[in-house]
């Protein structure tokens, strides 16, 4: 028994190496001077620490702009996602109406139509609506997510009908019921949806790829990808920018770890 436990710890530690060390190595590499990067005997830790790669990245590209764009998109889209997906989740959880099954199936079927497969016509639709090269194209369409609707619906099913009914008898309008009763009561699910949405938008590459060609509108991920493509790979800058791009997610993850785990379990188990 005792021996068994030590094997468990040994495997656990080994997995820490597998999952964590590559990321740490990249972070450390971003602080290496060029001669330590481009050598065939690289060391794990920088011998000499430098911020040159960060300075270089800021000087060559418009990286403060890209970071700004990514933040605008992630925050605005998340805000929108919370509102509209909670609204839909509420309708599907607390109302019986004609066509509710049809709408449910329609929402389900959108999972089977991933953006990557229908990107060509989506590109045409974006152009038709004047959303091409607009950050709105990265904010509005991805905000509606079937996963978000299901997450909210499952959670809102647990809110007792009596609270809603008594508010109705008191003469509250439906919108007021939604903002004053449903939204505050759904906080845990909203937190989960918000952090997932932030992550999806922050890490997104395919929507920006389709919708944006103007370098002024680039998001961080699009900028990183283009930097590796066009100029060969400008590694010293790329490493620094990649490191920077991970920081917001790291902070979000440290604060909301519990919600991430819970959210993954919920979406996975209840889907």
């Amino acid at each position: 028994m005792k021996k068994n436990i030590w094997t468990n710890y040994l495997i656990a530690a080994l997995l820490v190496v597998v999952f964590l060390v590559p990321v740490i190595y990249i972070l450390l590499s971003s602080f290496k001077p060029i001669n330590e990067l481009f050598t065939n005997t690289p060391a794990f830790f920088p011998r000499k620490w430098t911020f040159d790669n960060y300075r270089g990245a800021l000087a060559t590209g418009n990286f403060t702009k890209y970071i700004f764009n990514s933040f605008i998109v992630a925050i605005t889209s998340t805000f929108l996602a919370v509102i509209i997906n909670t609204m839909s989740g509420y309708a599907l959880a607390k109302f019986r109406f004609k066509g509710d099954t049809v709408i449910m199936i329609m929402i389900l079927s959108t999972i089977m139509l991933p953006l990557e497969i229908i990107m060509v016509p989506i590109f045409q639709v974006l152009k038709f609506f004047g959303l091409y090269n607009s950050l709105w194209a990265l904010i509005i369409p991805p905000a509606a997510t079937p996963t978000g609707i299901f997450l909210m619906r499952q959670y809102l099913l647990t809110i007792p009908d009596e609270i809603i009914q008594s508010a109705r008898i008191d003469g509250a309008s439906e919108w007021k019921i939604f903002t004053k009763i449903i939204l505050p009561n759904a906080k845990p699910a909203i937190a989960t949806l918000a952090i997932f949405s932030f992550m999806w938008r922050w890490n997104d590459y395919v929507w920006p790829l389709i919708a944006i060609s103007d370098p002024k509108k680039y998001t961080l991920q699009l900028a990183i990808a283009n930097l590796t493509g066009e100029f060969g790979t400008d590694y010293n800058s790329v490493l620094a920018i990649s490191a920077v791009s991970m920081i917001p997610m790291l902070i979000v993850f440290i604060i909301f770890q519990r919600q991430f785990v819970q959210g993954t379990m919920d979406s996975g188990m209840k889907g």
Partner: protein, 300 residues
Amino acid sequence: MSVKSQTYRSYLLKQKIVPYLFLTPNLIIFSIFIILPAFIGIYYSFTNMSLFTFGTPDIIGFDNYRALWSNEEFKAALWNTIKLVLVTVPLMFASSLLVATLLVQPIKAKGFFRAIYYWPVMISAIVVGIIWQWILSQDFGLFNAILTGLGFDPIRTFINPTFAWWSVVFAIVWSRTGYYMIIFVGALLSIPETLYEAAEMDGANKFQKFCFITYPSLRAARLMVFILVTMEIFKIYPLVVTLTGGGPFDATEFTVQHIYETAFQRYNIGLASAMSVVMLLIVTLFTGFNFFMSRRGENK
């Protein structure tokens, strides 16, 4: 109810409209940005639409589909993707179940380990590509430095098609195990402890316990993971952009990249749309097959 019948009737009417109003924003977005494009895509696949067609393209029937049948590049990319699904799905399955099994053992600091294993899930596919491209880089990478340090010859990593292909598999499994691990942890924790106790009393060993209790109890989670991973790998693209760029010699070019290039670099929207339709049918076939197999297991 103490409400007057007049107000009650208008209340009922309102109750009928309200849910639709709440659903409106989502339904508008789904209709415009998913359902409409899906139909437009099917329409395009029967036309000679190009990126520079203004106005209506000509309907050319099944010509695009016939062209696909003899399009070796597309067939190669599609077969490459199917191979990737067939190889990666079981690997992802095994690795996430293994890590999950470890996390339900009685060990301390479970939360710490779980957080570390989950962390790569939070990294964008673009950056995951950068991380492994840098570590596996032929001339400057840590991987080859370790190999030479141990006295082996360095590997021509991204010049070797086989190595490049497996590096994609590895990067997917590395970055996504944490996600599916959590789904399995949830499922493992919901298996009643009494089942294991009963099996122990009957003298079952670890392997038997896994085969006859754990594995069958995971049916719902298994189906979930199978479908999610299959979908995820069919639409693989961003990771490849920074990891291999599709090379060497298209060894890591998968369907989405091929569709993207056909549409936006060769401007052939009609052909690209036909590719999308074919791919959609194949994805549906795969997920449908998974679903069917798991249902069949249920009836037995």
